[in-house]
Each structure stands twice: as C-alpha cells, then as structure tokens.
Symmetry: C2
Subunit: 148 residues, 2 copies
C-alpha cells in the first residue's frame, strides 16, 4: 500500500495517475474562467478526456465559445456522498482552444456524446490541454477500486 | 403552468425563485475565482445559503481564504443524471469577504456543518453576497416538486 499524502487543510492528495483515471471515466465536468467583461463563471459541460486532452462542444456565440479563444481555464470534476460526508474532486488547468479544422474528423471519434439534443445554434469542438492536474479527497472517502 | 423560457443554446432558464429554493436546499457547491497568481481555480465547498448569503468555512492560509479578501467569485451548484442525460445548474456571483467579527456568533447558527472533520489549521467563516443568481436545466429534466 502506498503512503498517503495530505494537504495543509487535511485533505488527502490524489496521485496524478488516479486523477487521470478519474478524468478518463467521468463525463460531466465544470469549466471555470473569466468572461470578456471580467466576470468569473462556472459552467457545466459534458466532456471526454481523450489522448491527454479534454474535449467538449460549445454553442456558437456562447460564453464557452468566447473562452475557447486561447483563454486559461479551470476544469473540475467531483463526486460526493452527502449522507457519509465523503467525496473527491479533480482540477485540471490549461489553455482552451478550438479544435483545428484538420483534426475534427479524428476528434469526433473521441466518444463524446452531448447531453443537449436540441441545440439551437451550431456546436463547435473545443479542447483544453491541461498542464496541471491535481486531486483531493476527504479522509476516509472511498473511490471505486478501478481508480485506486 | 408558467411559460418556460429557453436560452440561446436551448437550455431552459430557471426562475430566480427556483434558483433560491435550490440554493437553500443544497449543501455542496463549487467556488470559482482567480488566484493571486492569476490562475483560474474551482474548489468544492460545503455551504449554507442563509438570509441571502452563501456561508462556508475556509482553512487559514488556503486559496479560499485568499479569495475572501473582497474578490469577485462565482459559486455553482448542480445535479445530474448521467443515465437519463438530464440535469440542472445554478450560478451565483458576488463579492467574497470574511464574516465580520461582530456577526460570527449569529452566523454560526446558520446550520453549516463542515465535511472536513480533521482540519489541520483554524477555520474562518467566509460569505458571498450574491448580486446575480441564474439557473438552467436541460430540456425535460425533472427537478424535485418542492423546487418547481
């Protein structure tokens, strides 16, 4: 059994390998960034983590779309059990950009399946290339054995 | 039955009254802000929405603690059903400050119950006074009748 590490607040630090497994298996995350008018925002997105990048679709003209012009963003996933007061979270940070035209056909195979089936505007592929991935869990929080 | 309103992306807009009921009933949210070194971050927090403010505890010396020095922040709660691909989210924005010394005794009665029971540093009461509260749900997403 590997040694466990805790942060200054007493949260257990998840290894990078665990964070990558969790990012790979989850499908719903939240992107945090600052809008053009300097407003902090958090928006939920259905995503796929594929070949080291986070992929999702944004609606034309949306805040998400604006953020994909090279902005630095935070991307978070988490899971909680309110009854047991346990849980975990993973935070990835990196630059958010549109998927290159030349890569669209390949990226469309990543397995993303958007939750919104009635999009009123064209959807655009967006990617985050994380340069930092960290995770925490509350002490005594179980995560599925395939992540551990 | 009230008319339903949808945003440009096809998401149903939740009324302010619904958002307030949901904020009141939930206990786990996420705060998004920019750190002192200009990094976007999203951190989960156990909270209570009480008398129009969001209250939680931050650990001394943490990023959350730094953000409570009058920074503008985003606060998000959400709920999802991956099998049905339905869900909702509420976003509140406002200034994050420490709770005034004179108000501490009263605020401690708000009913917050921190999830982290092994805090290694002193915890500080923090508040967000939201000036904007918005919410969305995917079409055909059910929310509990007491929120609707």
């Amino acid at each position: 059994m590997m040694a466990r590490h805790f942060d200054h607040a007493g949260m257990e630090i998840l290894t990078r390998e665990k964070c990558l497994r969790i990012l790979h298996d989850q499908t719903l995350g939240r992107m945090g960034f600052v809008t053009d008018d300097h407003e902090p925002v958090i928006l939920p997105v259905a995503y796929r983590f594929w070949r080291g990048r986070i992929y999702f679709l944004s609606s034309g003209g949306s805040k998400l779309q604006a953020a994909s012009g090279g902005r630095r963003v935070a991307f978070e996933i988490d899971g909680w059990n309110a009854a047991e007061r346990t849980g975990w979270s993973v935070l990835a940070r990196g630059i958010c950009t549109p998927v290159d035209e030349a890569d669209l056909a390949e990226v469309a195979e990543c397995g993303l399946s958007p939750w919104l089936r009635t999009a009123l505007r064209p959807m655009h592929w967006v990617q985050i290339l994380p340069d930092e991935i960290t995770g925490r869990r509350l002490p005594d929080s179980q995560i599925p054995p395939e992540w551990d």
